[in-house]
Assembly symmetry: C2
Homo-oligomer: 381 residues x 2
């Protein structure tokens, strides 16, 4: 089987990830931060280690400002619903996933104004566009670092800096880039960074989180026991407890810490360059197949390892079905939970076939995938 | 090591739980419900299997109305914040955990009226109390099935039925009982049942959920991609998608399904009777030790396997520390995230020492624990 659906969930994981899930699940099975016994203290340590690794990767000074959630969607909801109030105006892009668009749609019904900046042909916005679209009530820039449909990459550094100059809160969806592309919260001025644990960070599903810059507060989404300030019915103010009510996914977070360790040892830059090479191979290969239309920025421009295409006269779902059934190649077809983005590139009706290679894919696999697509296109004539 | 902190997280888990986490994590690593390829379909099946087992255990007719969350706290927040509006009045007990009390406190600040029914000496409320406290704007009964401090068990069947007659929405926190005590949503008329996956259901941390009875709706807490109705920025209405935005904890839920399978094979009644026996042993044993005060209902009355006590002239934390350090016995001390409950039994200042045996504890272990406590009490003289 060749797995090219890493934009949904990376697979496989490094062995160390499952080893650690198991070690912690079997030996450190208690609740972190709730009791004084040794196993509970060990559980707390496991989770703290993951916070430190996340803070280091994204350049956030205080590991206690890394808040774990079940996935990036929850983190984005916490950032967006916890920051934006009726009467506020926010700027966003046309490359957003429904993890951003649906909370925003919910807020629009409550009197929040949302501007989807068109950007260039591929949806990439510019600092100038921000400056021109800023209004008196503009509170935030909410931005996917990279499109999960086309791989188009925003110039996050310039945009964050420009947004800070405009006094906007910068909320970033790093679903497609965390662990692969460089992200520097402190230097670039990112206020809230949502990340999934199970994609580029190669941790297990059921993990993700929100990094909260110093001085930034949001309203919690849920309230409950945290092991701290137990004498009070008031939600504690201290981080990360304020946002982590209830028992966390300790074994999952332990696996995520192992994933982060794998990235640190491999080198993020090496992962990025491997994925870039595979992406370039795919883009060039698809470009050579007749009737194939590839979406997103041209081959030499920076992008995430996400490639969407269609074949003239062939349904995306048919291509996906045949790749799976005949060639055991796992890709994703359809709308990828991003109607805003599909509207932008004119694929809201038909969707796309999406290839998303990961660090564990090889060049040989990419060549097999390209050959399979070529054969299927030719057979469909 | 003797682990007696099962009210926080049950430990150990059956081996099949970690086997299944690993099998699914390593072989079925994709996103359920998002793509058409084989691995994604297998992931969807794994999760559906868990829904079926939950629905069967709690007697809910439609497995698609089992919604998975990161923990019971999120499920309770979804049930409470999604049901209650400013101007509403709710009835609850004085045995509630902060997973109920903190969302309610948040709602009180928004104009919701909350009555903490005193109940009897141990906080157990009666159908009559419900009838007497019901007002024109009373919308719901929100009730912990059992106290996580004293183990006091509510007569959930009678209370649910009485609440239904009063046309109240019945929201239940089954954190201390799910998987051990009988719960029948359909027959008893429970509308919303929140359960943790990692306690009595012997699944991994990072799992839990909310069972939603037919005809009951709540407002979602988060919005985002679900793999369904991807063409729309509107949150889908279909269950469970409406409440499960973002990638679920597939390996964790797979482990939970294995836990449920273990319970089905062992027999819930057998688990209940084993835990009852251990609880009785502990209550009788503690009763024989001088200077020990046990909280909660007397020995022969039905209760959950949670026992809180204190020793005259000795701090709870000191007892916990010595049990851990000298005897490698893991218990929990302090306030147990339940200030309402501690106020009720007068332990808000000093907390308690809590013993919570589980199915994997033996009578021999209980005897060791009792002997250790006895020695520590005698040495403290």
């Amino acid at each position: 089987m060749i797995y090219m659906d890493n934009a949904a969930t990376s697979w496989p994981k490094p062995d160390s990830v499952w080893d650690e899930v198991l070690r912690v699940g079997k030996n450190v099975g208690a609740n972190p931060g709730r009791a004084g016994h040794q196993m509970a203290i060990d559980a707390g340590r496991v989770i703290y280690k993951a916070r430190v690794a996340i803070a280091r990767l994204f350049h956030l000074s205080d590991p206690l400002r890394v808040v774990f959630t079940i996935n990036a969607t929850e983190a984005l909801n916490l950032a967006i619903l916890g920051s934006i109030k009726p009467g506020d105006h926010v700027l966003t892009s046309q490359l957003e996933h429904n993890a951003v668009a649906r909370p925003l749609r919910y807020l629009q019904d409550k009197g929040v104004e949302v501007t989807y900046l068109p950007g260039d042909e591929y949806g990439r916005i510019s600092p100038n566009e921000l400056r021109q679209s800023r209004k008196a009530n503009t509170k935030a820039l909410i931005l996917s670092h990279a499109s999960n449909v086309t791989g188009a990459l925003q110039d996050l550094k310039s945009l964050s800096k420009a947004a800070k100059e405009l006094d906007l809160r910068v909320i970033v969806d790093a679903a497609q880039t965390a662990g692969v592309q460089q992200i520097d919260m402190e230097e670039w001025g990112i206020d809230l960074l949502a990340f999934p644990g199970h994609k580029g960070l190669v941790g297990p599903q059921g993990t993700g989180g929100l990094c909260i810059a110093q001085g930034i507060d949001v309203e919690p989404l849920r309230f409950g026991g945290t092991g701290s300030q137990s004498e009070s019915e008031l939600q504690p103010d201290v981080l990360p407890d304020r946002f982590e009510s209830g028992t966390p996914n300790t074994p999952g977070i332990a696996g995520l810490a192992a994933g982060l360790e794998f990235i640190a040892q491999t080198g993020r830059e090496n992962i990025e360059s491997h994925e870039s090479k595979l992406t370039e191979l795919i883009l060039n290969g698809l470009g050579d197949i007749e009737k194939v239309k590839v979406y997103g920025p041209p081959v030499k421009e920076p992008r995430a390892a996400v490639i969407s295409f269609n074949v003239d006269g062939m349904e995306a779902s048919e291509m996906g079905f045949l790749l799976d059934q005949v060639y055991q190649i796992a890709v994703r077809t359809g709308l990828h939970c991003a109607p805003v983005s599909h509207r932008k590139n004119g694929t809201l009706e038909r969707g796309t076939v999406r290839l998303s290679p990961g660090y564990f894919n090889s060049e040989a696999e990419v060549k097999e995938v390209l050959a399979a697509i070529k054969t299927l296109v030719e057979e469909a004539r």
